[in-house]
């Protein structure tokens, strides 16, 4: 009986013993990019500097959490002119809101290494709930988390006034990110 209980405990403990909890994001292998249409033409951009704090245990995805903070000054908005323009009050109003933050509230497993990351994205002082599908790819040295979602810039007041005309700069911004992380 004692032996049986011990065996059961060992079996139960085994997955946890082998599982890795990913807690350290690797900035150099991570990226946050976006694409939007300007006069019907796709324009690519991204952010060079962002920090990720996370904890993800594939055995317990519901306990996972992530916080991403993006330095808006590190933007590549397609051209130097657009980089400068994006800092202004009509866009990010960067002197008041220098960062974009995402804080997770819930992670749901969808099966086959796909997850739904729920949380709040705050841009220009406006918090908005987001649901972001994320694919987890285990790797030898690091795992990667790839996500993609459509952000409607006007939900955050990004591009106000004369820029609110979505015929020139589309409302939809396709955001794609990859966070690489190692565990312990």
């Amino acid at each position: 009986m004692k032996l049986a209980a011990f065996t059961l405990m060992a079996v139960l403990a085994a997955p946890a013993a082998y599982a890795i909890e990913y807690t350290t994001a690797l900035p150099k292998q991570s990226r946050v990019n976006f694409e939007f249409r300007q006069m019907g033409v796709p324009v690519k951009g991204g952010f060079k500097r962002f920090t990720t704090q996370m904890a993800f245990d594939p055995a317990r995805p519901e306990a996972a959490r992530a916080t991403i903070e993006i330095d808006l000054a590190s933007i590549d908005a397609g051209s130097r002119e657009a980089d400068d323009e994006s800092a202004g009050k009509l866009w990010f109003n960067r002197s008041v809101y220098p960062k974009a933050t995402f804080v997770s509230s819930e992670v749901r497993a969808l099966g086959a290494n796909r997850f739904e990351l729920r949380g709040t994205l705050t841009l220009k002082g406006k918090p908005r709930d987001m649901i972001i599908p994320v694919t987890y790819t285990p790797g030898k040295n690091a795992a990667t988390f790839d996500g993609s979602f459509v952000l409607r810039r006007l939900d955050f007041g990004i591009g106000e006034g004369l820029w609110a005309d979505v015929a020139t700069v589309a409302n939809e911004v396709q955001v794609k990110f990859r966070i690489a992380a190692t565990g312990k």
């Binding site: 300007q38 033409v41 323009e85 004369l162 005309d165 020139t168």
Partner: protein, 182 residues
């Protein structure tokens, strides 16, 4: 004088159409570059690119037409050096009308903005996005345009001189004024 003193109707139509487009795209280009970034600026850039692609296609048609149709001979009495200068100037005009839209297209790609003709037909990006290359091509595009402007002034001045100063029936060659009758 026979009809051979006049370019073919197709050549004349293409000449004036391309002239009209160049006289739209050139000042538009000068105006738009100085504007602060705005939706209107983005629109003007698109229009400028659409005109440029159109010029490129029309010039390709002109070159194909020119290859199969001999232009009317220059009137008698024009000095040999002027004939040579005229041939050279026309060759250069054609070269610039090809090179300018081409440099604009490449610049646009290098700057990371694909050219989509009338917002419908995407042109392939022949070069990768590269800001330094984009700036370099902008300088090339500008220099080629100022060269074209200088040549166009020469082209118009020469035609006017032949017509009004030397009093030769010159502008009729390009369809201006009444056709001469024999």
């Amino acid at each position: 004088m026979s009809a051979s003193n006049r370019y073919s109707t197709t050549a004349i139509a293409l000449h004036w159409l391309v002239a009209l487009l160049i006289f739209s795209a050139f000042p538009l280009g000068l105006y738009m570059v100085g504007l602060p970034l705005s939706p209107d600026k983005l629109k003007l850039y698109s229009y400028h690119k659409w005109i440029g692609v159109t010029v490129f296609l029309l010039v390709a048609i002109r070159l194909a037409w020119r290859a199969k149709h001999t232009p009317p001979a220059l009137p008698d009495g024009i000095a040999a050096w002027q004939r040579r200068a005229s041939a050279m100037a026309h060759g250069l005009l054609y070269a610039l009308m090809v090179a300018i839209p081409l440099s604009g297209w490449l610049m646009s790609s290098a700057k990371g903005f694909q050219t989509v003709w009338f917002g419908v037909l995407p042109l392939p990006d022949l070069v990768e996005r590269n800001r330094e290359l984009g700036d370099m091509l902008a300088t090339v595009h500008q220099a080629l345009n100022y060269s074209l402007a200088a040549l166009v002034i020469l082209h118009v001045a020469a035609a006017l001189k032949h017509h009004f100063v030397e009093r030769r029936p010159f502008l009729q060659r390009m369809g201006l004024g009444r056709k001469e009758r024999t």
